[in-house]
């Protein structure tokens, strides 16, 4: 299938009413949770995981992806109006978006965020299509050792890049890997860490883990938050219109942000949050008047918003063609597919064209929906910001319980959600990342299987990881990433003693 045939096929697939409705549902729900500060895309996707049992895997993936990028549009709204990032990906947008709102230019800031997000997505779609074809061809040369080395690189990258204390990141990833061992071992049939509980034979339920770690923990953390304050003016269509000067200023940062995001989104460990930060610092560095940043510069909204959206889309390339999620949100997406018994890999594009091309087309259509819906409906989203969390979280909790119950019909799972929620809340309180735990949990069985296979093929010779050029490349990159924080600490100490 050529690219054009694929795209036409995908558009044909997504415009079927029974698929389109899930795309629409995903982006609207995504925008809603994005607008609400405190509940992020992770929590929303976790809450919706049970629905994937009732729909086709394609529709499920399209909906969950819609939640993800929809949440980025919504996240910008609360970043700009409340200086509270609705999602971590839009945290940078507060830096110049909120000052714009204070200067009475909230509408222009929102317009910039929406249009830049859309443009970034289009760039991301183009890169995704090119990259996925290339990765699928390259991946046919991958062996078990290469897969294992690449996944380990992904885990190391995710826990070192952009974290203050890499040791805590590693600890969370390792705990996640360990939790992934619970249940029946696929290679030997042995039962591990089940302690005689039949409920644990299939392992820890991904839905219960994700809901507890993100849904329950985030609700607990936000229950007693004081009422929100921010710029709460009425924003009509007229207020959205930018000046010609704004359009000129936002054009290049948007394109640069989109390019930067699509590169970092596809790399393991660097997701859309990091891309938005990088884009902001790049724009400030190359600006003619860097002193304008932080006081309401349009560039500071346009670049990061384009970057986070394009990164969110290109992140699907390694997830779908190699079966390796680069960040925790992609791990949830992979988990949703695994629930359906689908293990993505290099054959995905050929074997399930509806999945890949349908998703690509849904990115285009979903983003278009977001643009045409959100600009006129911005007033509704602003009104949503006024709903106190008091009225929302009890319903969230009940839906969460019923969602996890619906998967297996076991009250054991609801009780497990409470326990996991408490653990997740404590972890987040002590600044350990539950997202990294989830990444380790999803990758654990894959890493173990590939490691065991690699050693079986090499007859127990660990040199296999250095003899194969692909694996060796990943091993070298992993070692470099491990040494980086040590080197930085050493340099800091050397500088301090001067």
């Amino acid at each position: 299938m050529t690219t054009w045939e694929g795209l036409l096929f995908g558009i044909g697939f997504v415009t079927q009413p029974e698929v389109l409705v899930y795309c629409f549902l995903g982006v609207v729900l995504g925008t809603f949770v994005g607008v609400l500060p405190g509940i992020g895309a992770m929590a929303a996707i976790s809450l919706l995981l049970p629905i994937t049992y009732y729909v086709t895997p394609e529709a499920a993936l399209i909906m969950l992806a819609g939640v993800y990028y929809g949440a980025q549009y919504g996240g910008a709204v609360s970043s700009i109006l409340l200086r509270l990032p609705g999602t971590p990906q839009s945290a940078v947008t507060t830096l110049d978006g909120y000052p714009m709102a204070q200067n009475g230019r909230a509408g222009v800031a929102l317009f910039t965020a929406m249009v830049s997000s859309f443009t970034g997505s289009v760039i991301g779609i183009v890169v995704l299509v090119l990259l996925a074809g290339w990765l699928s061809r390259a991946a046919t040369a991958f062996g078990a050792a290469d897969y294992a080395a690449m996944m380990i690189l992904g885990l190391v990258a995710a826990s070192t890049i952009g974290t203050a204390r890499p040791a805590k990141g590693f600890a969370m990833v390792t705990l996640g890997l360990l939790l992934g061992c619970v249940g029946t071992d696929v290679n030997s049939g042995a039962q591990r860490f089940t302690f005689g509980q039949t409920e644990l034979l299939d392992g820890i339920n991904l839905v219960a883990l994700a809901m507890g770690m993100f849904g329950v923990a985030e609700v607990i953390a936000n229950v007693r938050n004081p009422a929100r304050q921010g710029v709460m003016e009425k924003i009509g269509l007229k207020r959205l219109m930018p000046r010609r000067d704004d359009l000129r200023r936002m054009a290049l940062p948007t394109l640069r942000g989109g390019a930067l995001g699509s590169f970092f989104g596809a790399l393991p460990g660097t997701g859309s949050t990091l891309s938005s930060f990088l884009s902001y610092s790049m724009e400030r560095r190359i600006a003619r008047q860097p002193e304008r940043f932080g006081t309401g510069a349009v560039e500071g909204v346009a670049g990061p918003e384009a970057a986070n959206n394009s990164a969110a889309i290109t992140a699907f390339a390694p997830t779908l063609t190699l079966g390796i999620p680069g960040d925790p949100i992609m791990a949830l997406m992979l988990g949703a597919l695994v629930i359906h018994g689908i293990q993505p890999g290099p054959m995905m594009l050929e074997a399930r064209p509806e999945m890949f091309w349908g998703l690509v087309a849904s990115f285009g259509i979903g983003n278009l929906l977001l643009l045409v819906l959100n600009l006129p409906l911005i007033g509704i989203w602003v009104a949503m910001l006024r709903i106190p969390f008091n009225y929302l979280y009890p319903a969230i909790l009940v839906f969460l319980c019923l969602g996890v119950y619906s998967v297996r019909g076991l009250t054991f799972d609801i009780v497990a959600v409470a326990g996991i929620g408490l653990a997740g809340y404590l972890l987040a309180l002590a600044r350990f990342s539950p997202a990294l735990l989830l990444l380790g949990f999803v990758l654990g069985p894959l890493i173990e299987t590939n490691l065991r296979r690699a050693f079986l093929i090499s007859r127990g010779d660990p040199m296999v990881f250095l003899e194969r050029p692909i694996a060796a490349g990943f091993v070298i990159a992993t070692v470099a990433l491990l040494l980086l924080p040590l080197w930085q600490a050493w340099r800091r100490r050397a500088r301090a003693s001067d």
């Binding site: 390792t174 591990r192 607990i220 229950v223 979280y393 319980c401 119950y405 404590l426 007859r459």
Partner: protein, 148 residues
């Protein structure tokens, strides 16, 4: 400012989990050889790694100060209590009873005072739940409390 208790407690807890998992796996599961790894090999390696990482997080933290994070005990109790009541009450109270009770318990830690809004919310969420899960998704659950 006080000791960095978050890292000390968190690190030590993780080290304990790691040591426990590695020990349990080493005793109960077959390790195999590198050529043919048994079901115990991966957990033992991971458990030992977690033990070391936990110590690596906890030990330097003794020499450091940090602001202790605030544990929202009321919020945690209300939210977890609501979930547990829902889970354990579902067979007895039915969907309607469990939902209403859970909502009432969940709202206890909310900053807004008064009872009227809590009851209104409980009724509204119960109605919504019945509408979506019972009429909409046709989940087979008892709706009303079981009569003795």
């Amino acid at each position: 400012m006080q000791r960095d208790w978050a890292d000390i407690c968190g690190g030590l807890a993780l080290a304990a989990i790691g040591a426990g998992a590695a020990g349990w796996a080493a005793v109960h599961y077959d390790m195999g050889a590198l050529r043919r790894m048994g079901p115990g090999a991966f957990p033992v390696v991971l458990g030992s790694t977690l033990f070391l990482l936990g110590l690596f997080v906890a030990l330097p933290a003794f020499a450091r100060t940090d602001t202790a994070p605030k544990f929202e005990a009321k919020a945690a109790l209300g939210v977890l209590g609501a979930i547990l009541i829902f889970a354990l009450g579902l067979p007895w109270l039915g969907l309607a009873g469990a939902t209403a009770t859970a909502v009432l318990v969940a709202t206890l830690p909310a900053p807004r005072q008064g009872w009227v809004w809590r009851i209104v919310l409980a009724v509204a969420v119960t109605a919504l739940t019945l509408l979506v899960f019972n009429l909409g998704l046709r989940m087979t659950l008892p709706v009303w409390p079981r009569m003795p």
